[in-house]
């Protein structure tokens, strides 16, 4: 037992003597969450648009004002002819052109209908679609207000409740995702490198001929990294809460134990990676290039899984991060307890056992 303890100390020393890695390990999550909290968002704000008003009457003016006075849109340019549309889009500076037909108000008075055309730059389809939706909503609102109530017998309205995130803050979506990604990548990377490095430098053999069992060696390595990752997770949670107001509605100890579970799962994935290669470089490439993009894209971090094609949803199932993200969001933002996330928790456990099992098997075979 004392030998084991000695190994744990050794691992801690390794880590703390490597100042550069340490800076990145702790600094990275902080920088990221600050950046993403303040900078990344899906919400449209101050989008530049151009207006081609062929009518220039009081009504088109009202509509234009309504559009521009919303926080979503800013006027970039007033156009005068159709030809200018292509040119202004090519500058890449605007996302949308709103076109009012000639004699707009007149048409409206005479026939009750007038035409507005919206052209959206859909090179980025997400933004394009959202911009169209917002513009349409504003115009629809205008129509409602424009129609005198005497012409309508009655009128249905909706009352919206936005659960869990009443102010529609983007960070609510991103902070849990960030925690998941950083924990997964850091844990997997660190454990896989640590083991392959020992293999490469030959110190692994020294460890293996010592009376300490391989399992103990591995666990001794895992402990410091678990601690590090845990500190990271807590840091992000604190920053999220106090800087961005991302609440922790659910039970805190429960949340933290799920976090620990995920950390262990990611570490076991790293260990598994280290059993399939003896080169640091390969381990790094697998952990990084292999895990990074799929985790960002398929875990539900930014893109909703429900909207993906079926085969991708299936692939997403084998990413531990996907399940953890569900747990995290539910517990943090909805205050769910185990009854709501038992399935996901069980799955994470399953992953943990699976990776450990495979690693042990590989270890025996290889060495």
């Amino acid at each position: 037992m004392r030998k084991f303890y000695g190994f744990v100390i050794k691992e801690f020393l390794h880590i703390f003597r490597d100042k550069r890695t340490l800076i990145i390990l702790f600094g990275m999550p902080v920088v990221q969450i600050l950046l993403f909290g303040f900078a990344i968002t899906n919400e449209i704000k101050d989008a530049n648009i151009a207006i081609l008003d062929l009518s220039k009457d009081a009504t088109t003016q009202k509509i234009t004002n309504k559009i521009l006075s919303s926080k979503y849109f800013l006027l970039y340019q007033n156009l005068n002819t159709y030809d200018e549309i292509e040119k202004v889009f090519r500058t890449g500076k605007i996302k949308e052109v709103v076109i009012f037909e000639q004699k707009f108000e007149e048409q409206m008075k005479k026939t009750g209908k007038a035409n507005v055309q919206i052209i959206v730059d859909a090179a980025d389809p997400n933004t394009g679609n959202t911009i169209l939706n917002y513009t349409t909503a504003i115009i629809n609102n205008f129509v409602r207000e424009y129609n005198p109530t005497s012409n309508i017998p009655y009128f249905i309205d909706i009352q919206s409740r936005l659960r869990y995130n009443p102010e529609l803050k983007g960070v609510f979506l991103f902070v849990p995702g960030l925690i998941a990604i950083i924990l997964m990548l850091v844990s997997a990377m660190m454990s896989s490198i640590s083991l392959t490095k020992e293999k490469e430098t030959g110190t692994m053999e020294v460890l293996l001929v010592s009376p300490v069992k391989p399992a103990q060696v591995i666990i001794a390595k895992v402990i410091p990294y678990s601690l590090l990752s845990f500190i990271n997770a807590v840091t992000i949670l604190l920053l999220g809460k106090f800087v961005f107001g991302v609440p922790i509605v659910g039970n805190l100890p429960f949340l933290l134990s799920e976090v620990i579970l995920f950390i262990l799962t990611s570490l076991s994935l790293g260990i598994f990676i280290s059993t399939v290669t003896s080169s640091q470089q390969v381990a790094l490439m697998i952990s990084l290039v292999g895990l990074m993009l799929p985790t960002i894209l398929l875990s539900g971090f930014i893109y909703p899984i429900e909207n993906m094609p079926l085969f991708l949803q299936i692939i997403s199932n084998i990413l531990p991060a996907r399940w953890f993200l569900i747990i995290l969001r539910d517990v943090m933002l909805k205050g769910s307890d185990i009854t709501y996330v038992w399935k996901e928790t069980l799955i994470l456990f399953g992953f943990l056992l699976f990776f450990i099992g495979l690693s042990v098997k590989n270890y025996k075979v290889r060495l």
Binding site: V116, V143, S336
Partner: protein, 376 residues
């Protein structure tokens, strides 16, 4: 001078191609990811799971419920009279939202001239939540419109022109089908090429430092520029190959429009790669071990990727963040890719991008070469 570089390049290629575990990671994995992951990115919100509480049970309320049923955006997953049940369905993720048509809805509507339907939405994903809200609003607008039109027909005093509507047409340019792949595939390719290029070059020299062969080289009269060029060139070649091959593959599989000239794109790519490699090189001059090099690289890559304008638009960011992205090479490449492929931009249109990347490349590479020392 060149001859020495040639020897180094040959050595590098031999080592790369002999490394059986790395080869699939450098070549197959990125291309696989490109093909598969491109399908992931979509914000098109459909299949919203909705629970309907209809306490009114009148023809009007059933009409409203029917509209949700017929809508391509909504998927009715349950009917209930119990609000608690509906709330639970949201909490356990079976439903994204629910609406409640209250008791005596129709009666009160006619009496008071207005009435409200309750809409409760899971708004954790803010964008999704507000879009959901918007679609509900659309349906209710339709209902209101029907009501008004019916009234119009029955009325004696009103004419069509009294009911004001706006005829709204819309069209999407540059991507009429809202094809997300058109947008994502080139972007993901850029990310992958950047990742591989920067990682390989950051670990390249550090690896030799760690295993000791760097000393053998440093003790020869080779000068550091020859050495750096010799080490980096093969990676650059691999990066260009992946860029070209990846794009071709993407064309074949996804039929992405390519309005502009490949020459423009690949010229930019060549310059961009030299910058990406330069960043890797710079990192390798400030680190001692492969582990450190990798962590540094990862740090910057995560930042660049998430602030690159691929997953979230740069225009949505606050001004200070947008300023930061001016230093992000990925941002420029993504813009160029879009401009060239989707809008047919030529050299003149991307001239600013070219200039910026060139300057950045010269500065970063210069700094790296300056920092690299054969003698410690």
């Amino acid at each position: 001078m060149i001859r020495v570089i040639k020897f180094l390049i040959i050595k590098e290629f031999k080592q790369i191609f002999r490394n059986k575990s790395m080869l699939p990671l450098i070549f197959m994995m990125p291309l696989l990811q490109l093909l598969i992951l491109a399908n992931a990115a979509t914000f098109e919100i459909k299949n919203l799971n909705i629970v309907i509480i209809d306490k009114d049970q009148t023809s009007l309320s059933r009409n409203i419920a029917g509209k949700f049923k017929g809508s391509k955006y909504f998927n009715i997953v349950g009917y209930t009279f119990n609000q608690k049940t509906a709330e639970r369905e949201i909490q356990n993720r079976h439903a994204d939202l629910y609406i409640e048509i209250p008791n005596n809805f129709e009666r009160d509507l006619i009496r008071e001239q207005t009435n409200k339907i309750l809409v409760v939405v899971n708004a954790i994903d803010g964008a999704k939540g507000s879009i959901s809200n918007f679609y509900v609003q659309n349906i209710i607008n339709d209902v209101n419109k029907e009501i008004a039109e019916k009234y119009l027909i029955q009325s004696n005093t009103l004419v069509a022109a009294d009911f004001k509507q706006i005829d709204l047409n819309y069209s999407f340019w540059y991507n009429p089908d809202l094809n997300y792949k058109t947008f994502m595939v080139p972007g993901i390719l850029v990310l992958l090429v950047t990742l591989i290029g920067t990682f390989l070059s950051s670990m390249n020299i550090v690896r030799e430092k760690e295993i000791g062969t760097l000393e053998s080289i440093n003790v020869t009269p080779i000068n550091k520029i020859q050495f750096i060029i010799g080490k980096q060139t093969p990676i650059w070649i691999i990066g260009m190959f992946e860029l070209v091959f990846g794009l071709t593959l993407a064309e074949l599989v996804y039929h992405i429009p390519f309005l502009g000239s490949p020459v423009v794109l690949f010229t930019f790519g060549a310059l961009y790669l030299s910058l990406a490699l330069g960043v890797g090189l710079l990192i390798s001059t400030v680190t001692e071990t492969q582990q450190q090099a990798m962590f540094f690289t990862w740090f910057f890559m995560m930042l660049f990727i998430l602030l690159g304008g691929l997953f979230t638009a740069i225009e949505n960011m606050p001004a200070w963040a947008q300023t930061i992205t001016l230093f992000n090479p990925i941002r420029y490449f993504i813009e160029v890719v879009r401009l060239v492929m989707l809008k047919g931009a030529g050299f003149a249109d991307v001239k600013n991008h070219l200039i910026v990347i060139s300057i950045m490349s010269v500065v970063i590479n210069g700094l790296a070469v300056f920092r690299y020392r054969k003698t410690t």
